[in-house]
């Protein structure tokens, strides 16, 4: 066996010190021992233990079964009853509440409160910071706070692709896409095939209008497998950015002929039709989306393009009220310009946001 190189030695030393710190901070009390049983059962229900490095976009986007979340939350609550000084249980409970909020909005405050409890005990908790960042991003629309929390999460879990993806979104809204790009490519060095990271980088390239990079990222996507359609949608969007509208349209139709419910393709096709001035087709594309994917802000953008000012503002109001998760991203798009110039629209967004909209976007 050869001698370790300097980089390997340096890393090994840092890793050893981290393990030693973890060892010293272990808690081995009787109440913690009792809490570990329900905690372990909850983790199984939450599917913890999957290979997080190999997580696909489909896995990342598929909602968890509500029943599992409910049971896991009950077990984690029991773990906290056994040991109320168990920050990991609080963080996982916050995580469970956050996912349950996708089914029941009343869970959002609980998720936030529980994340706060976990962070009070362990300010660096990756799980709790992720929940904090998620709530800031999609509920409070406080993108500065979201970016800060997600940076904390990434500091402890640098290979967590889901956090990087959210971080990229928050940084885009803050107008700091280039700063985020420089960080994300560091992870892509070791995970170059990650569709989640590539899609995040794609969004950042769209913000910096790097048309060559947009196309290159799309062409480097897998040509087969579950992510192939996403790659085609990215390529179609690259064509859209380049003004190659007919090619983009053909690609989107190709995707939708295989998967008529592909939300990303429907959304981006509608925006393409807005660019092409085919507004009836844009409206029809939006109509073809499943109910929960018929994003109010997208309808608002199409209505604004059709000149239906009041109707468009009505949809913006609804998007704000329902916390449409696409709204922050929509504000980044040139098609939002027509709405952006509406004082009522800007007023609505500012009124319902805790702050942090990039000045360039409002």
């Amino acid at each position: 066996m050869g001698k370790p190189g300097p980089l390997g030695s340096l890393a090994a030393r840092d890793i050893s010190q981290a393990i030693e710190r973890a060892r010293r901070s272990q808690v081995a009390t009787e109440k913690r021992r009792r809490a570990l049983a329900p905690y372990g059962q909850a983790l199984k229900l939450l599917d913890q233990g999957k290979d997080y490095v190999l997580q696909s976009t489909r896995e990342a986007e598929t909602p968890f079964p509500f029943e599992n979340l409910l049971k896991a939350a009950q077990l984690l609550e029991e773990a906290l009853r056994q040991d109320d000084t168990f920050p990991e249980a609080a963080a996982k409970l916050a995580w469970s509440y956050r996912m349950a909020a996708e089914y029941d909005e009343r869970m959002w405050p609980k998720a936030l409160a529980m994340a706060g409890r976990a962070l009070a005990a362990d300010p660096g908790s990756a799980d709790a910071n992720f929940v904090r960042g998620y709530v800031s991003m999609f509920r409070e629309w406080d993108f500065r706070a979201a970016a800060q929390s997600l940076e904390q999460c990434i500091r402890r879990s640098i290979l967590d692709q889901g956090s990087w993806r959210l971080y990229a979104g928050a940084m885009c809204v803050l107008g700091r896409a280039e700063e985020a790009r420089k960080k994300i490519v560091t992870v892509l060095s070791v995970l170059p095939a990650s569709v989640i990271l590539r899609y995040a980088l794609f969004g950042l390239a769209e913000q910096t209008k790097d048309l060559a990079e947009i196309e290159r990222l799309a062409r480097e996507m897998p040509k087969s497998g579950p992510s192939a359609a996403l790659g085609e949608a990215m390529l179609a969007s690259a064509f859209h950015w380049q003004g190659r509208h007919r090619e983009a349209e053909q690609l989107f139709h190709g995707i939708l002929s295989k998967d008529p419910r592909n939300g990303k393709a429907i959304t981006r096709l509608a925006l393409l039709y807005v660019s092409m001035g085919k507004l009836d087709r844009a409206a029809a594309a939006v109509e073809s989306a499943d109910g929960h994917r018929r994003w109010p802000i997208l309808v608002g953008v199409v209505e604004a393009a059709r000149g239906n000012r009041l109707r468009a503002l009505g949809w913006v109001e609804r998007a704000v009220r329902e916390r449409d998760p696409n709204l922050p991203y929509a504000t980044l798009h040139p098609h939002f310009d027509r709405l952006r110039s509406e004082p009522l629209c800007a007023q609505l967004l500012k009124q319902f946001s805790s702050g942090g909209w990039g000045s360039a976007h409002l």
């Binding site: 370790p4 980089l7 490095v53 879990s157 992510s227």
Partner: protein, 160 residues
């Protein structure tokens, strides 16, 4: 069949380590795992290192330099044996262990921004709770990454 061997030395600075050897069949998916046993509060705690190299890619990804870097880390961690094994099996080992069980997931690749450089990223996790404890990143010159290439020393990630 690949071999998994606990390290002989206390190079990780956490005390005595037993020398029991684990021999486990290689998994179908190409994972590579090196082992290092560490200390819990009363007795040696356990940590496994999973050394990954990303697949070949136009930018970033695996290659001889990344393989060498993983090997270098394995050497520095005092890992004598390297084997192919998926992460799930590492966790199974962890679930059987008494006390906390740590694993290090380390990925090496050529820098996306500059293919002549190499990068190593690692996370330390507590296995039973799947808890992220710490992570780090190191960059270096490709040619100075470490020992000579030993094919198969790392887990090659498939496209996903």
């Amino acid at each position: 069949m690949a071999r998994f061997v606990e390290p002989e030395s206390a190079e990780l600075g956490v005390g005595a380590i037993s020398r029991r050897k684990w021999v486990i069949a290689a998994g179908a998916t190409v994972a590579v795992t090196g082992g290092a046993l560490m200390v819990t509060s009363r007795r040696p705690a356990k940590a496994l290192a999973i050394l990954n190299t990303a697949e070949a890619a136009p930018r970033g990804g695996g290659g001889p330099e990344a393989e060498a870097l993983s090997r270098s880390l394995a050497n520095a961690l005092g890992l004598e044996g390297i084997e192919s094994r998926p992460l799930a099996e590492v966790r199974t080992l962890g679930s059987r262990a008494a006390g906390s069980f740590y694993y290090v997931n380390a990925l090496a690749g050529r820098c996306w921004e500059d293919g002549t450089r190499v990068r190593l990223m690692a996370e330390l996790r507590e296995a039973s709770g799947e808890l992220a404890l710490w992570s780090g990143s190191w960059d270096g010159e490709g040619g100075k990454a470490g020992a000579a290439r030993q094919p198969g020393c790392t887990r090659h990630l498939p496209g996903h």
